[in-house]
């Protein structure tokens, strides 16, 4: 079974399966005996685990805590049967738990259940479209890549990055056999010591922390220690060629490897490259209205006098959006060039959600920070999407997106309440603002905010998502089209004075506008492909 198929069953039993995945699960279980067998075993494992300790903690997470054998009204036979069953249940728990506890002290091997996680990938073939960074698990077995990058994490402490064509076999959480390929290995802490890369001619044993290898059939291995200590033994592990550091490259006769400077393949690069690829694909989508990546190449200073595309910019705005020169504005051109442009005020281009200096986002650092967008036209179907992270609330409520004028049907607004939960508003639709779900808050990690507007079963539906979770759905009665001629991110304009008040403290990245309503599946895919897993998780990983 594929890992993605197992994941469907895993999500089902965790009661976190999405509507779209339910149909995939049904199809899988209908057609595959193997999948049904896995499903039945999974159910048995869950039930056995639950019964082993009555799942104290799992009940804290959405699964309601029912009484095991509630008293029910009935005759004496029912009472007798219930008490018998209760007694049996206790006996059964005792037997299971006893064995469980007895076995705790036995020394164990982790070889059969390795934890090998996909951290990121780029440029692999089409069959890898279902890979999810941070979730997809690799099992022992042989793998081949023809191109691109594959970044795996072994046992939470060793990162291995394959670049280009490679053939390798995962032997365990601590050992891989590489027949061909270029590999960079990074050991994060002592748990990863003795991680070994075997090749046809030698064994490379990491004693911490980084080294690179290039393996080609019928040629000597190429080897470089970037940091720390690496021991090389022959293929039978009988003889050691020595332990090597970045400063210790002795001349060795008859060694099956040569020391060579191999260019570094940095962790995080795969995510950034994959993201760039996604951007190129998005730009070809005919429904794209505007896409802002906030990279430096899309940022320019324009002189107000010469700029002619600022159709709806109110007079007050140029003053507030000025740069050092009062006549200049910083403009973020939409990557798409189709319909919109943005103007930033006191925002700064900073590191983005991907590793490395190439990745940029837009930071809102002070009380005047805001961005203005224009979007001509009316849209029966519409999606607004942006990655964002908040630093600290400037006020108890954050205004995320607000039209310049709150005056006619079709104007849409997104803000957060005092608890940090986002909610939506539509002009003239009083029933739209509702968000009873208090568990989805915008925080300091990168999060994907998506608003969709479109028809669903003949009704107009207006939805708000945070990450891949739908948090509010409403069915507007009057609004048939979205019309957002000019709107602000992170600020609002006072209708009487025309003044701009800003109250968003954080950053945004990859803001996009679409003339179509994204499905939940689209949003899930965007989340999995766009969430910077490596960046978000790496700080906790390193223990020195």
């Amino acid at each position: 079974m594929k890992p993605s198929e197992k994941k469907l069953i895993e999500d089902y039993f965790a009661q976190s399966i999405s509507e779209e995945d339910i149909s995939s699960l049904n199809e899988l279980l209908l057609n595959s005996e193997e999948a049904r067998s896995f499903y039945l075993t999974y159910a048995s494992v869950m039930e056995n685990l639950d019964e082993s300790g009555q799942a104290h903690n799992l009940h804290n997470f959405g699964q309601s805590n029912s009484t095991r054998f509630p008293r029910k009204k009935g005759g004496k036979w029912l009472a007798i049967a219930a008490s018998i069953i209760f007694a049996l249940s206790c006996l059964n728990h005792f037997v299971f738990q006893k064995t469980w506890e007895t076995d705790h002290g036995i020394a164990v091997s982790s070889e059969n259940l390795p934890n090998i996680q996909l951290i990121d990938f780029f440029g692999l073939n089409e069959t890898h479209h279902s890979f999810i960074p941070g979730q997809t698990q690799f099992e022992p077995g042989e793998y081949e890549t023809t191109n691109g990058k594959l970044h795996l994490r072994f046992g939470e402490s060793v990162d291995v990055i394959f670049t280009g064509a490679s053939i390798f076999e995962i032997l365990s959480e601590k050992e891989i056999f590489v027949h061909k390929g270029k590999i960079r290995t990074i050991v994060h802490d002592e748990r990863g010591h003795e991680f070994t890369i075997c090749t046809p001619s030698a064994n490379y044993i990491d004693w911490g922390t980084e080294f690179s290898l290039r393996i080609n059939p019928n040629t000597k291995d190429q080897f470089e220690v970037d940091e720390g200590l690496v021991e090389v033994k022959d293929s039978k592990r009988d003889n050691s060629f020595g332990k090597f550091t970045p400063d210790n490259y002795p001349l060795l006769k008859n060694a099956p490897f040569t020391f060579i400077d191999l260019s570094n393949d940095l962790p995080g690069e795969a995510g950034f490259a994959r993201w760039n690829d996604q951007i190129t694909k998005k730009l070809k989508d005919p429904d794209l209205l505007g896409l802002y990546t906030f990279g430096k190449s899309n940022e320019k200073t324009v002189n107000l006098g010469s700029e002619k595309f600022l159709h709806n910019l109110p007079e007050i705005l140029p003053e507030r959006f000025k740069t050092g020169n009062p006549k200049d504005l910083i403009v973020n051109r939409a990557e798409s060039g189709i319909a919109s442009h943005g103007i930033q005020n006191n925002c700064s281009s900073s590191y983005g959600r991907w590793e490395g200096s190439k990745s940029k986002s837009l930071r809102f650092n002070n009380r005047w920070s805001a961005v203005y967008f224009e979007l001509p036209g009316k849209y029966e179907e519409f999606t607004f999407q942006a990655w964002l992270q908040m630093h600290q609330s400037k006020s108890s409520q954050n205004l995320l997106l607000k039209p310049l004028l709150w005056d006619i049907p079709g104007r849409m607004c997104i803000r957060t309440d005092r608890r940090g939960n986002p909610y939506q508003s539509l002009w003239g639709e009083l029933s739209v603002r509702k968000n009873h779900n208090t568990t989805h808050k915008i925080g300091k990690d990168w999060q994907l905010l998506t608003y969709t507007f479109g028809k669903e079963n003949g009704r107009v539906a207006s939805k708000l998502y945070l990450n891949k979770n739908l948090i509010t759905t409403s069915f507007p009665k009057h609004v048939k089209e979205i019309q957002m001629d000019g709107f602000l991110w992170g600020a609002s304009r006072n209708g009487q004075t025309g003044n701009i008040a800003s109250n968003f403290d954080g950053g945004i990245d990859e803001l996009s506008l679409w003339a179509k309503a994204f499905s939940k599946k689209d949003i899930e895919a965007e989340y999995h492909q766009g969430y910077p897993f490596y960046q978000s998780f790496s700080p906790n990983l390193v223990q020195k």
């Binding site: 339910i22 049904n26 019964e51």
Partner: protein, 177 residues
């Protein structure tokens, strides 16, 4: 009369003890929500108790007989349940329950394989499993203590369950050879 009931109790207890985990697991495969399992198991046990006198050759048939009762109750539960509690459609559920009944004997002693596999987990994974299933410490507190997010621990728990399932399947296959 009293001694008849005692004898029936003793016999029923013996068979029930042997087959309860497998029948419970079978019920779990037919229901979406875990907390419905206990209620349905209770119902099945009561029906089995009431009809126990009618069962011929309980030594041979008790487990499969309980499964027939369980299957009837699962389908009855599904007919009354709300659609949102039935992600798996009836046609597929019938196939699952058919296969579950067919593979009953092979899965009857699954907990033994599960114990073997649990011991193959790493110490940290076993600790997390222990916190989730056997400890009064909440996952939230455990996450705090270990500088992790609760979400990441729940993802890890899911992965552990999947890994355990794969291991149990291999283990059972090896035992059947």
């Amino acid at each position: 009369m009293k001694s008849d009931i005692n004898l029936k109790n003793t016999k029923f207890l013996a068979y029930y003890t042997e087959h309860e985990p497998a029948v419970r697991a079978y019920i779990r495969s037919g229901l979406y929500k875990h907390h419905d399992v206990a209620d349905l198991m209770q119902k099945v046990a009561i029906i089995a108790w009431n009809k126990f006198d009618q069962l011929k050759d309980p030594e041979e048939n008790f487990g499969k007989w309980m499964m027939v009762i369980a299957r009837y109750e699962i389908m009855s539960f599904r007919r009354k349940a709300q659609k949102m509690d039935l992600p798996i459609c009836e046609q597929v559920m019938n196939k699952i329950l058919d296969q579950g009944a067919h593979e009953y004997d092979s899965r009857k002693d699954l907990w033994q394989a599960l114990q073997v596999c649990t011991q193959k987990l790493k110490a940290g994974e076993r600790e997390l499993l222990d916190v989730a299933y056997n400890s009064s410490t909440s996952i939230k507190d455990f996450a705090k203590e270990n500088n992790k997010t609760t979400q990441s621990l729940y993802q890890k728990l899911n992965r552990i369950r999947t890994a355990l399932t794969s291991c149990v399947q291999l283990q059972m296959k090896a035992e059947s050879l």
